[in-house]
Symmetry: C2
């Protein structure tokens, strides 16, 4: 059975922004504050470091908070994660689904209608959740292009929803602007939690702000 996913407030980890705290410390606090799903992402880590980081994050997650690994399907499998998130330049989604089997979750990034079409063209059950963004341009992913804006996100999210896919918005989302993001099933945050002096309080504020999605 496909792993459960509550995408309401989806944290993507950033090791550098979490410093001097460890990523698991930030994740633990963020989950206490209301984060509902976590993706371990560290493009600078070796595969072994990413594996160890994923195990450490997994150890602090309560049941019901889905754990994704960015890009590294092998790490996700070995670490017993609930799912994998891939970008459009990572391994192709159909191949990833073949590797992870039917029970794990698969997320795919989509930044424009053509990229969303990739997700929609796949057999049902391949992709579970589409990461739409960036909503606003963001310093944590400077190559992600100009922001789609809330209207652009809502348009892509409507396309995903019509095909039975869930969606989350990502890119520059904070407690101050989260309420303007609509049409998606949740919001992803990186720096708004990882760089916050108090990740638990930051997550709590965000969770209150995204409550309008429900």
């Amino acid at each position: 059975m496909r792993a459960a996913l509550d995408p309401t407030l989806y944290l993507v980890t950033d090791t550098a922004l979490s410093c001097p705290r460890t990523v698991p410390d930030v994740v633990r606090a963020a989950v206490t504050g209301g984060v509902t799903a976590v993706q371990v992402r560290d493009k600078d880590a070796s595969r072994r470091e990413l594996y160890e980081l994923t195990l450490a994050v997994r150890a602090v997650l309560p049941p019901g908070v889905a754990l994704f690994v960015n890009d590294a399907v092998d790490v996700a499998l070995l670490a017993g994660a609930d799912g994998v998130h891939v970008g459009q330049d990572d391994l192709p989604p159909a191949e990833v689904r073949a590797l992870i089997g039917p029970d794990r979750l698969l997320g795919l990034s989509a930044g424009n209608p053509a990229e969303l079409a990739v997700a929609l063209a796949l057999p049902p059950g391949t992709v579970d959740v589409v990461g739409i963004g960036p909503v606003w341009s963001t310093p944590t992913k400077p190559d992600a292009g100009a922001g789609l804006g809330p209207a652009g996100v809502a348009a892509l999210a409507a396309g995903a929803r019509a095909a039975g896919l869930r969606s989350v918005a990502i890119g520059g989302i904070s407690a101050a602007n989260a309420a303007s993001v609509t049409g998606v099933d949740g919001v992803c945050v990186v720096s708004a939690v990882c760089a916050a002096p108090d990740p638990e309080a930051a997550a709590r504020e965000l969770r209150a702000a995204v409550g309008v999605l429900a």
Copy 2:
């Protein structure tokens, strides 16, 4: 059944050094010249690029030439490679063996007695072949440390052989110096083939030089 491996002349690909030729073009020529095993390595490639590169290399390999993928276990599985090669900072060998199953080959780098001990401490059948090096310091892997020299390589190779593991030497090996590398089951080359004006001729020369190992 474990995939067959003839490690006599083992080519590790380098995309930049192969330019302006493609990696598959260099591999095809090198195999014609006598290369017996190929490892696709490209630390700069995205996971998707590495997957596509591995498929393209696989398409030019004749039966009997084992295909390894460096580090990326997921890519190796998806591309139907014969094996994976991991460094000491990549995913741990026992975990990699669990992912790849009993039929694929697993290589592990070892640059000193402590790293070799990692391989020797694993259950029999975990690792198939140990990559020992660098023999000489090499511009293609500037972080690999000073060279072990032929005597250092032979000492590590003897330890591997005593434990039933095969070994290949890597690092700075050329047709001019390959004959001085002894005690191993084969030699790995990168620039000696990938940067050669005529990879087929370079492989043929190397194959003649390493003949003394047999």
